[in-house]
């Protein structure tokens, strides 16, 4: 007999995977349909519109709500994967070596020199960048929406 907690975790995983899967499938379906429409010669067919996306989300709303309610219930009841907080095996890591390599509390001379050198270099590079227009480039990109960056176009 499966423990209720374990059962909950399995159902929650299935709900989450299903929600994500159907959200992905809705987009893929919309795209495939739209691409076929465009291929058939409809030059101005818009694959996605606010209305179409709204309708698709509305279809999935019951599932999204069910997943949300189930998740909140789990939180309220304090259900979670207990093994998550446990120690994991070192799995091929040598503890002794690990200690030797850990970053020590006292910063060594070498580290301090490296810190100062990089700090100075960074400031010089920034000043050079302001001088050669690199800073302006950052502004130019940030001041208008990069439709490619966000996946719009």
């Amino acid at each position: 007999m499966m423990k209720p907690k374990k059962l909950y975790l399995i159902i929650e995983s299935a709900l989450l995977a299903l929600t994500a899967g159907l959200l992905a499938a809705a987009a893929v379906r919309m795209y495939v349909h739209g691409a076929a429409q465009i291929a058939s010669g409809d030059l101005f067919y818009y694959i996605y519109t606010r209305e179409k996306v709204g309708a698709a989300l509305l279809h999935l709303l019951p599932l999204i709500c069910a997943t949300a309610v189930f998740t909140v219930a789990g939180w309220v009841l304090g259900i979670r994967d207990e093994s998550a907080g446990k120690l994991v095996a070192m799995d091929g890591i040598d503890a002794k070596e690990s200690v030797k390599k850990a970053v020590p509390k006292k910063t060594g001379r070498r580290e301090r020199i490296l810190q100062s050198t990089i700090l100075i270099l960074a400031i010089v590079l920034i000043l050079l960048g302001i001088w050669n227009g690199g800073m302006g480039d950052v502004f130019d990109k940030g001041a208008a929406i990069c439709t490619e960056c966000v996946g719009l176009g």
Binding site: L9, E12, A20, L23, F44, Y48, N132, M135, G142
Partner: protein
């Protein structure tokens, strides 16, 4: 004799040390069995607050979510240290990774010193402490991990996967932008374009949720579908596997990881206290081999599991967080002093946040509004046909202010451009246009389909002036573009070709105010001699006059009456342009 005694002593010390280790490990296991490890380490709550604070500060332009516009003030020339998309309506500064790709894109003509300097500065001061404390994407991943599902623990497999982010860095952040920038002259931020879930979530979803950007949906094609699916997969993975994106894919983490061993702020181990029990590494959910290595995000979660009190978070010699209880706890006065400093720091931080919220949401917009010329005033100043429609223009400066107009036009634009959806209207209007070209134009001034675009005058690149009302009786196409926008650059040659094929159609390409000065250099060798090109500026405010969004490219087609027949932010093909011209003629 001596050597034998030494060896004996060493063996004795070793035994003592091993006993100590065993005791510590046992105590760790005992604590774990008793459920002590199920408790969050001290400092978790503070870290969560800092993460929330950073997310809010990076996105202090809250009004952007309401009006659907991004912030485009001077602060966009600097970057925040964490992952935060600069196309998010809330973002007040640039994204370091997006800006780096952009800088590498431009490396053919401008060396990327600025971004290298910024990343080196962030790296040497904070290292991957940024990932653990002030990265909004890190926060989202950790919240997703709170979902009650079975968790995949770290193992040799996840450790191998953690090297994938270096591949991401080399291929998507460095190679693709450099290759396209130098060889093709196209700005192509590989990681942003093909992978970045922050761009999809904060940028695309953040913008599309606003009704003002309804026409941005028309741009969405395969790229969005693919990025949407990637975002969902990454989100789902984060629920099951701690910080999956951060550990396996994030190139920014890969960059900051290089600085981790010697950065000023970070987690450190007191080697005199440490007995090598390894509990810290076993407790850590990241793929660290030792505390503070390139995978360590200085979250400090391991501090609570160290029975020796050997772990602390340091800023140089100053201890920011250390053991507060147990036999290795810092002395009480030290803890009190640290708490006092912490309270002062929070006071300053809250004051900064409140100032930022006030500045970006009220003070700066009010200043901008006072400086920018109002669309209807400018239109009235230049227009010859304004006399007929200026009354209406005063009442209705832009369609966005009139939800009913907007709703109508968005319905029209649902699947086809309005002209195509209403051919009979177009025929009537073109007939009228033949009879009374310019003077017959009456209607609402605005930027929606069916509106009359406000008249404006601007200087053209290479001399001459463009006045919109001069072209009444002709089809006019306005293309809004920027050199930083790859789809715009790919689309512009079609306009040139169109102009050659239809000399009677007036085409004006207006460059966004950002980077307008560089457009001249960009255009120098293109040989697009038929296009009229104008550069926008803060003073001219052409984009806002035309009711343009911040997303480009945008195309506005006016028929012979001067009425808008098409106004959408989407890159067009040559065939589509031909179709739009024939509809407007």
């Amino acid at each position: 004799m001596m050597r034998a005694a030494d060896t004996k002593m060493q063996t004795g010390n070793e035994r003592v040390r091993m006993d100590m280790e065993k005791e510590t490990i046992d105590s760790g296991e005992r604590k774990e069995k008793a459920g002590a490890h199920a408790q969050p380490a001290y400092g978790t709550f503070t870290r969560r607050l800092v993460q929330l604070y950073a997310a809010l500060l990076y996105n202090a332009n809250l009004k952007g979510f309401l009006d659907g516009h991004i912030y485009s003030g001077p602060l966009k020339s600097v970057c925040v240290p964490g992952f935060n998309c600069y196309s998010c309506p809330g973002a007040i500064a640039g994204c370091p990774l997006g800006s780096l790709q952009n800088a590498l894109n431009a490396s053919g003509h401008t060396a990327p010193w600025y971004m290298l300097g910024i990343l080196a500065l962030f790296g040497v001061v904070l290292g991957r402490t940024i990932c653990g404390w002030i990265c909004p994407l890190g926060l989202i991943q950790e919240l997703l991990h709170k979902l009650p599902v079975p968790k995949i623990k770290k193992s040799i497999v996840t450790r191998c996967l953690s090297y994938l982010k270096y591949v991401m860095l080399v291929v998507f952040v460095i190679a693709i932008p450099v290759w396209y920038g130098i060889n093709q002259g196209i700005p192509l931020p590989g990681f942003c374009k093909y992978i970045c879930p922050a761009g999809t979530l904060e940028g695309a979803v953040g913008l599309l949720q606003n009704k003002a950007n309804a026409t941005s949906f028309y741009q969405l094609k395969l790229l969005f579908t693919q990025k949407w699916v990637i975002m969902l997969i990454i989100g789902l993975a984060c629920a099951f596997c701690y910080r999956s994106f951060c550990r396996f894919l994030c190139p920014l983490g890969a960059i900051y990881g290089f600085f981790n061993r010697f950065c000023v702020v970070g987690v450190r181990v007191d080697t005199d206290r440490c007995n090598g029990c390894g509990l810290c590494v076993r407790r850590c959910q990241m793929d660290v081999k030792h505390v503070g290595d390139h995978e360590c995000i200085s979250c400090g979660e391991c501090m609570g599991s160290c029975a020796q009190g050997a772990i602390s978070i340091q800023a140089g010699r100053i201890t920011l967080a250390g053991p507060v209880s147990g036999k290795h706890a810092d002395p009480e006065p030290v803890i009190q002093k640290r708490r006092k400093l912490g309270r002062i720091a929070w006071g300053v931080a809250i004051a900064v946040l409140l100032f930022a919220l006030a500045w970006f949401n009220w003070i700066e917009p009010a200043q901008e509004a006072a400086k920018t010329p109002k669309p209807d005033q400018t239109a009235a100043a230049h227009s010859q046909t304004e006399t007929q429609s200026s009354e209406k223009a005063d009442a209705k400066p832009a369609a966005a202010a009139h939800p009913e107009t907007e709703a109508q036009s968005s319905e029209k634009a649902d699947t086809k451009p309005a002209a195509a959806a209403h051919p009979e209207t177009e025929t009537q209007s073109s007939e009228k246009a033949d009879v009374k070209p310019a003077a017959a134009a009456t209607g609402t001034i605005g930027s929606e389909v069916g509106d009359l675009l406000p008249d404006f005058r601007t200087e053209l690149l290479g001399g001459g002036q463009f006045q919109l009302s001069d072209y009444r009786g002709q089809v006019v196409i306005l293309n809004l573009w920027a050199t930083t926008c790859a789809p715009c650059i790919e689309e512009l040659p079609y306009y040139e070709k169109l102009k050659v094929a239809h000399p009677d159609v007036e085409i004006l390409a207006i460059h966004h105010r950002a980077g307008a000065k560089k457009a001249e250099n960009f255009l120098a060798d293109k040989g697009w001699d038929h296009l009229d090109i104008a550069l926008d500026s803060k003073e001219k405010g052409l984009f806002s006059l035309l009711g343009a969004s911040d997303a480009m490219p945008q195309t506005i087609v006016l028929n012979k009456e001067g009425k808008i027949t098409y106004n959408v932010q989407v890159p067009l093909t040559y065939e589509q342009l031909e179709e739009l011209v024939s509809q407007a003629s």
